[in-house]
């Protein structure tokens, strides 16, 4: 398995090096939205004397910087690729190979993150200076962040795959993923840190998986939650990973039987 992965990794790095500009542009997508909402919150905070709840301007900056880092590290776009492959019948050759198609996605995803992390870091340092970000991170937070972001990445990846496998039944995954993205827009901590979502929205956000992909690891990295709270939130992450893992297993098994290539 390790040798297979190494071979896939080399092939993907070679493929990715052909599309350098493209990957940097995609990286911009994970920065621009956080910067937009950061700017908006800074304006709101300034109108209220610099402080909203537990956040001042520099906390917002740190939060949104962590958020774009997390969103880059957890990004998963399989739903789009997979629907295309199913619709075009391109999945067939992949199904015939001895390796589960998910492994190709894993490697593709890893390589993309490896190639974009450095330019992203440069941009984020720039943003940190512009907004004078203040991090409250302790070494313990950093230690917890590693498993937390891994859980988040696993969650994003698995939930993306569950959505993608819906392509076996309907070729309109695009609509489904729009609804998913918009729910994430509200509940994942993009429009506001989870702690600032007003009343019921916050409760809903903590019950849904979206926040555990972005907002939770971002807050842990920023040092915005206490260690016990962080552990609780990570327990939530584990629960959602387990749920999506089993959902994926089930959906894939049933779905693949359903699949017939176009023209078959």
């Amino acid at each position: 398995m390790i040798r297979t992965y190494r071979a896939l990794l080399v092939a993907q790095i070679q493929a990715a090096s052909q599309y350098r500009v493209q990957s940097i542009l995609w990286m911009l997508f994970s920065v621009i939205r956080p910067v937009i909402f950061l700017a908006a919150w800074v304006a709101v905070a300034n109108s209220q004397g610099g402080q909203i709840g537990a956040y001042d301007v520099r906390d917002f900056a740190a939060y949104y910087i962590c958020l774009s880092l997390v969103s880059n590290l957890t990004m998963s776009w399989n739903a789009y690729d997979f629907e295309f492959e199913v619709r075009m019948g391109r999945l067939s050759p992949k199904l015939l190979r001895p390796l589960h198609p998910i492994h190709y996605s894993v490697v593709e995803n890893l390589v993309w993150k490896l190639t974009t992390i450095i330019p992203l870091a440069i941009v984020l340092v720039f943003v940190a200076i512009t907004f004078d970000a203040r991090f409250r991170t302790t070494p313990m937070h950093l230690l917890l962040f590693v498993p937390s972001v891994l859980l988040a990445a696993a969650l994003a990846f698995l939930s993306g795959w569950v959505l993608a496998t819906l392509a076996f039944w309907t070729t309109r995954v695009h609509a489904v993923s729009t609804f998913w993205d918009r729910a994430a827009f509200i509940f994942a901590g993009q429009i506001a840190p989870l702690a600032l979502l007003p009343g019921p929205l916050q409760t809903i956000a903590l019950a849904l998986p979206f926040g555990y992909i972005l907002g939770v690891p971002a807050e842990i990295l920023r040092g915005g939650v206490t260690i016990p709270t962080a552990l609780q939130l990570m327990a939530g992450q584990v629960v959602w990973v387990v749920i999506f893992y089993f959902a994926f297993q089930r959906v894939w098994r049933v779905g693949v039987r359903q699949y017939s290539a176009v023209g078959a």
């Binding site: 937009i36 909402f37 700017a39 800074v42 304006a43 729009t178 729910a183 600032l196 007003p198």
Partner: protein, 261 residues
């Protein structure tokens, strides 16, 4: 001129017929648009649950701005994005010849040829959001009422000029999808007034990628924050951008070689 209007109608009608073949898809797309707009309004409401004023913009003005954002974005996706994508494909495949040989302005034939009719829903929703914002403003003067549509049209014109200039690079580099992707990623920034952004981003959004201007200025007119001089400058700027981009397009066209040439 009349001929061009009739051509435009014809293009629109064929694209509408095409889209109406896939009715379920159309309905789904419209629902998606509603969800996207609704969640954006929700995001604004979350922000305004903590303040009554954002950098001098109150909730009504922000709603007008968000509506303008969807109007401008909808306009871009209604006609510009599909047409320019087709245009770049024509350059790549060498099939631009067909447009060049027709007895009408090639620029016209290429840049407003294709429509994503469903994006009218996006523009409609944008208009509704604008209307909701306007209904919360006690009184709107005559100057604002005249200035607003003018500023909005200028916004459309600016976006057109920008995309025309960007896609013209296709004549030399063939694959310029990336440039267009860059535009779309900056587009998102239009949802807030351009003055909330830090210096470097504000400059980018108001000069290099004039999305900020295209969306913010019409909303500014309504909020009574733009004097006639500013509006005049905007009109001049738009005309200049349009002329310049068209000139650049014709320059690029000279480098075009057909498929087998």
């Amino acid at each position: 001129m009349v001929r061009y209007v009739r051509l435009l109608q014809l293009f629109f009608r064929t694209e509408l017929q095409y889209e109406l073949e896939y009715r379920l898809n159309l309905v789904l797309e419209i629902i998606q648009t509603v969800v996207v707009t609704g969640t954006s309004v929700a995001a604004i409401l979350v922000l305004f649950s903590y303040t009554t004023i954002l950098n001098g913009w109150d909730l009504s003005a922000m709603l007008v701005l968000l509506g303008c954002f969807y109007l401008v974005q909808g306009f871009g996706e209604l006609v510009l994005q599909p047409s320019f994508e087709k245009f770049m494909e024509h350059v790549r495949l060498g099939t631009l010849d067909f447009a060049l040989l027709k007895p009408a302005s090639a620029q016209f034939l290429v840049t407003v040829r294709n429509f994503q009719v469903v994006q009218l829903a996006q523009m409609g929703l944008g208009a509704i959001v604008v209307a909701v914002g306007l209904s919360r403003i006690p009184s709107i003067g005559l100057a604002e009422a005249i200035g607003f549509p003018i500023a909005l049209l200028c916004g459309f014109g600016l976006i057109y000029a920008l995309l025309l200039a960007l896609s013209t690079f296709a004549f030399w580099f063939v694959r310029v999808d990336n440039l267009m992707a860059l535009y779309w990623s900056f587009m998102d920034a239009g949802r807030f007034p351009v003055d909330v952004y830090p210096g470097w981003l504000r400059v980018t959004l108001s000069s290099a990628v004039p999305i900020g201007v295209a969306v913010t200025v019409p909303a500014q007119v309504i909020a009574g924050r733009l004097d006639p001089l500013g509006l005049g400058l905007l009109m001049l700027g738009t005309i200049a951008a349009f002329v310049l981009a068209s000139w650049f397009w014709r320059l690029g066209l000279r480098s075009y070689t057909g498929a087998s040439a």
